[in-house]
């Protein structure tokens, strides 16, 4: 899969939060594959996404959304306009 499958706004947001280039934000990028994606950055990313798209995650789902693809799918499920 390629970067194009991640919407630009989400890609740029996650690039900011994880302090990496936007090209590295692929759907497969995950907590397991990126060092700077620790639990605090995860929380920061969640808060940034909530602020950007005006959504609220279910706290029980938050720890499970550990890759870009999972985050994106959850956003789509919540009806966010990406």
């Amino acid at each position: 899969m390629s970067v194009e499958q991640v919407p630009t706004s989400l890609r740029e947001l996650l690039a900011d939060i994880f302090e990496i280039s936007a090209e590295r934000v692929t759907p497969e990028l995950s907590m397991g594959t990126l060092d700077s994606w620790d639990s605090f950055r995860h929380l920061q990313a969640i808060l940034a996404i909530e602020g950007e798209y005006g959504v609220q995650f279910d706290p029980q789902r938050i720890p499970e959304l550990t890759s870009v693809a999972l985050l994106q799918a959850e956003l789509v499920k919540m009806g966010a306009v990406l």
Binding site: E12, L13, D16, I17, E19, F40, L43, Q44, L47, A48, E50, G51, E52, Q56, P59, I62
Partner: protein
Amino acid sequence: MQSDAERRERRREIKDAAARQDAAGAVAGARRLLAESGKPADVQFCATALAGIGDALREQLGARRLKTYVVRSVTVEPMLASLAVEAVLANFVLDIEVGGYGSYADELLNADSSLAKFKPELVLILLDMEEIAGRLPELCADGTGAEVEREIEECVGRMAQLLRSYRAGSTARILLQGLVVPDCTSLGDVGEANLPHSLTNAVQGLNLGLAALCGSIADCVFFDVDRLAARHGRARWRDARMFLASRLAVAAEWFGAFARGLVRSFSTMLRAPRKVLCTDLDETLWGGVLGEDGPEGIATGSAFPGNCYLEYQKYLKQLSSRGILLAIVSKNNEADVREAFKVRAADLALGLDSFVALKINWNEKAESIRELARELSLGLDSFVFVDDNAVECEAVRRQLPEVAVVEAPAREPWRLVEVLSGQPFFDAAMVTGDDLHRVDEYRAQAQRAELASRVGSRDEFLASLGIVCTFQSALLAPLSRAVQLLAKTNQFNLTTRRRSAADVEKYAATEGGQAVVVRVRDRFGDAGVVALALARRQGDDCVIDSLLLSCRVIGRGIESALLAYVGEEAARTGAKRLVGEFIATKKNAPCAEFYSDHGFSRFVPPGEGSSDSVFYELDLTSSAITSPKWIRVEGNESNER
């Protein structure tokens, strides 16, 4: 809200500025981006960009690096980016370390803790209700709780123990955050308001106790987070979902406001407030244009829109009563202005005598402010300029970058007070007796200048002033004034070491050490505590670590009287040699020759060849320093004011 394209453009500006290590450009860009957008991703973007130019911020803008340790019981990590960015906007570069969730007591008490080992210059203590006063919600549940007051006392007592223990082993500045009054309680709004021991009353009482505690500890400030929460709405300040799931005490939308509040609070321990507010007249102090509308036509007084300006005048008057000097800087005919103040006196909260200086002419305003700085012997970085005219504001910003410029909202005069109070430059965690007397003192200065122009020689003039110097221990002065002098004196300051209250206490307490301040009065008034010296014994030497004099009393020989006093004390305790030190800064040229003017000779101590310090010595067994003959000296009186 700006468009996506503008947001991208701003970000490119910041990135480019950072890439060429242009600190001012990056900071200005960050300020704009955050004012226009300020989304979490933008904040992190700015934090990343600014973190990469820490050295440039320090070298080009004089930003101060602060090793900062966060003692916490809640999740702070997601807001650190906001904190770092807001700190940079206030010219601090934070080097942050965060403590463990449950280890705050150990960190503050244990000399081997991660906090102690980090050796911070600033400690932020951010604890939540559960840690500080976990029993309060239960004790307050019936609103009559007999035990509530004792519990509050015990909470403050526990915190006092932690703070005092840490203070004893560290000179770091300490910020203690208070508690937020809970928004939803079982008593409900009516019960909270009417029952004496409601949780609302208890938390407010506890906050008062913690604030008083901070006031009793050197270099410690209370951060009233409840005030911030109330301003933005307590109902939305905390996101219960995120607090309960992740212990995040502040909702993400308020990270910026929270970080700004924190920075404003701790800044007061690290820099002095500005001292002078220069206000424009037309469309600022009053509505309309005096030259066109005439004294009867300008808007001021109890009716709208004049009352907007009256509110601003009252605000200025309040600033003046805690020692902020007011000045008029206006392009007008002085005679017209005098007439307006006379004719409209009943509609104005200020009279011409409320101002220490008037610059009413047709000169450039930057030139008028420069003149004021000279006449009041104050640095330009002590000045604030308020004007509705964007062109005047920009001219002052360009010509005098040290001056803080506030653009008055001419079309929305009701926002004048809000705009001014949103600025941090008059923030002070304490007000000293000297602050309260400052306005009188500057008026006396004007009278002295007038006398000087009549009396012939300098000595004759100084003798006619009837100067009396009183020497006191810095601990009695009070100590807060000594620390204030150390923090803000630049021109007559031989080493410019920003010693803390704890340092001063150490000098006073050590055998052979001195921490002495000088209180000065003359026939025109009491200038208060205006000079300070710190010295310590080193073998047969008495070494002067710091010696400084407030710029408003330069030129009266007080520094000589102080040096003479320190020399006498040193000789009395058996020192054979008095050692002075001078470290040149951009501002302290006026005292470069201080020691050589008093008979000291230069020497190079072993191993000190390469430092910035220039050392001087005086043999106390064969010489002494004479105090000027026009100064009457009173020693060690501690019963004054």
